[in-house]
Symmetry: C2
Subunit: 160 residues, 2 copies
């Protein structure tokens, strides 16, 4: 079964920006949540979209199933069947010491939020800490995407 | 956008059984519900599975997106990420006056429930009523799949 094991961090400086190899604009919408399960629709840029089912998080792991779907379906889901407006972020990719990192830079109501992630093959896998890496937030509920979605909606409601 | 327009009926006799052209065993699980949106995983027999997103129902119509997914993913979702045990039913297919009908025969805790459905191209499309057709339940909340799921879970809980 596909399983996602990842660790999340804040960033301590902007030095990572010099090492970005490529980036993609993401738009996420949550179709439904239940008992920690999440169903998400995501645009990668304008030409690729996916539907994901994620199981409840257990520590740094969770089951994850992701399927490519037609963009017109994803657009309809994002505009009509998601809980609130899409959350937008730029995903920056970079390699440090032979390992892949992503840094998500949130936009709109969440502008300023930056989260670095590394995906690991096992929960105890070693990795090299880049100098720009900040505190770990893997277990911090406030930095889960669902919590960020709530902050995003609350900020939009405040500004309405 | 894919849109499902269907009318649902009870059956008034068993005469439909003589006209069944083929049937398939279905196993359904609901991953999540929100504001009338539903995300469902379904097995068609043992070798085909789908993930569906359905929008809120408006009368006899709703948006519907359905994607084939690997059976091993569907099995993991059914066993680990659904709200309750799978709902099992036999879907019987038959043609009456050139139009396709399905009759869902529920099993387990819902044994005895039979629902006939016809899918239409538009809300006002004409169709021929077979002699075995009973009362229409298109607008009856008690015969929605979500309500049947609740009955199914409640019956299982009572028998536990």
């Amino acid at each position: 079964m596909p399983r996602e094991i990842e660790r999340k961090f804040l960033v301590a400086s902007e030095a990572w920006r010099d090492h970005v190899s490529h980036r993609v604009e993401l738009r996420d919408g949550v179709i439904a949540l239940r008992d920690g399960c999440k169903v998400r629709v995501r645009f990668y840029g304008d030409a690729q979209a996916t539907l994901s089912v994620k199981g409840p998080r257990a520590g740094m792991s969770r089951d994850e199933f992701e399927y490519a779907i037609p963009c017109e379906d994803a657009l309809a889901m994002l505009s009509k069947h998601c809980d609130g407006p899409p959350l937008r972020k730029t995903r920056h990719h970079l390699v440090h010491a032979g390992q892949n990192w992503t840094i998500d830079e949130y936009h709109g109501a969440l502008a300023g939020v930056l989260i670095a992630e590394i995906e690991l093959a096992s929960e105890d896998a070693a990795f090299a800490r880049p100098a720009w890496l900040g505190s770990e937030v893997t277990y911090d509920q406030g930095y889960r995407q669902s919590a960020l979605m709530r902050r995003h909606r609350a900020a939009l409601a405040d500004s309405a």
